[in-house]
């Protein structure tokens, strides 16, 4: 596959993640959409790493960092979800409105 084909696949994956993050109200479904978008970004980096950049380690290290940061992000996000569930018995994003004016 060419560079353009990989970029199109990544754009499609990002668009799907956008749909997931925008149309759902459940916090876990939002998290899944965000993960899809991050993975689309990693695919872009790897594709550019293969076809454009001369030094092949840079893109791989970028993607490893993205994976590590995603793990940290998910740990925090899930602990916040558990805390919210304990306090409100619900993780619907539209019902968590205590701070809205």
């Amino acid at each position: 596959m060419t560079l353009e084909a990989y970029l199109i696949v990544a754009a499609a994956l990002f668009a799907l993640g956008l749909i997931g993050a925008m149309s759902h109200r459940n916090l876990i479904a939002l998290l899944i959409g965000i993960e899809l978008m991050m993975n689309a970004a990693s695919l872009n980096l790897m594709a550019f790493n293969r076809f454009v950049v001369a030094d092949p380690t840079v893109g791989q290290i970028f993607v490893l960092i993205i994976i590590g940061l995603a793990a940290a992000e998910v740990a925090i996000f899930l602990s916040i979800i558990l805390r919210l569930y304990r306090a409100y018995r619900d993780i619907d994003a539209e019902k968590l409105t205590e701070l809205s004016g």
């Binding site: 993640g17 092949p56 993607v63 995603a70 940290a72 558990l82």
Partner: protein, 166 residues
């Protein structure tokens, strides 16, 4: 490098899994779709010549993150509860935004001419050894910072999720 047909199979996995994750109302199916999509993405990394990143994708994303999301889901949602009825207006808006975004980016990609790599790197530069060497010498600060971030995330997650002593 993999066979072309295998690469197309991985692309299909990525897109089918993404569709499952984006359009399913049941959270469990969305998580399964996420896993399928990530598996296809690991295959694409393999086809781009990086077996180590593909292995990390499978180990950390599918083995770690997806399973953690399943645990959190089972601790926070009653499985028998029906998901709320979809908000059609919101879904249409989201799909419209995504379609606009996709076609804008596709148009840009089609119109851009990317520079080709002048001298392709040798296969040795793609090896795991070269990656490890770069991580421990030139990119050492990044590596150590990432380990610190992960440690802080673990501590923060425990602090946030623990039960309050009353």
């Amino acid at each position: 490098m993999l066979e072309q047909s295998v690469v197309y199979l991985f692309v299909a996995l990525v897109l089918i899994g993404g569709c499952m994750a984006a359009f399913s109302r049941q959270v469990l199916y969305a998580i399964i779709g996420l896993g399928i999509s990530l598996l296809g993405l690991a295959g694409l990394f393999l086809s781009l010549g990086s077996p180590f990143v593909a292995a990390m994708q499978v180990l950390i994303y599918i083995g770690g993150i997806t399973v953690a999301i399943v645990f959190a889901m089972m601790l926070s949602i009653a499985m028998s509860v029906r998901p709320p009825d979809p908000d059609v207006r919101k879904s249409m808006f989201a799909i419209g935004c995504a379609v606009v975004f996709f076609f804008a980016v596709a148009y840009l990609i089609r119109d851009t001419s990317f520079p080709q790599v002048a001298s392709p790197a040798s296969e040795k530069a793609w090896s795991v050894g070269a990656l490890g060497h770069a991580l421990l010498t030139h990119y050492n600060l990044v590596f150590e910072t990432l380990s610190l971030v992960l440690l802080l995330a673990i501590i923060g997650a425990i602090l946030i999720a623990r039960k309050e002593k009353t």
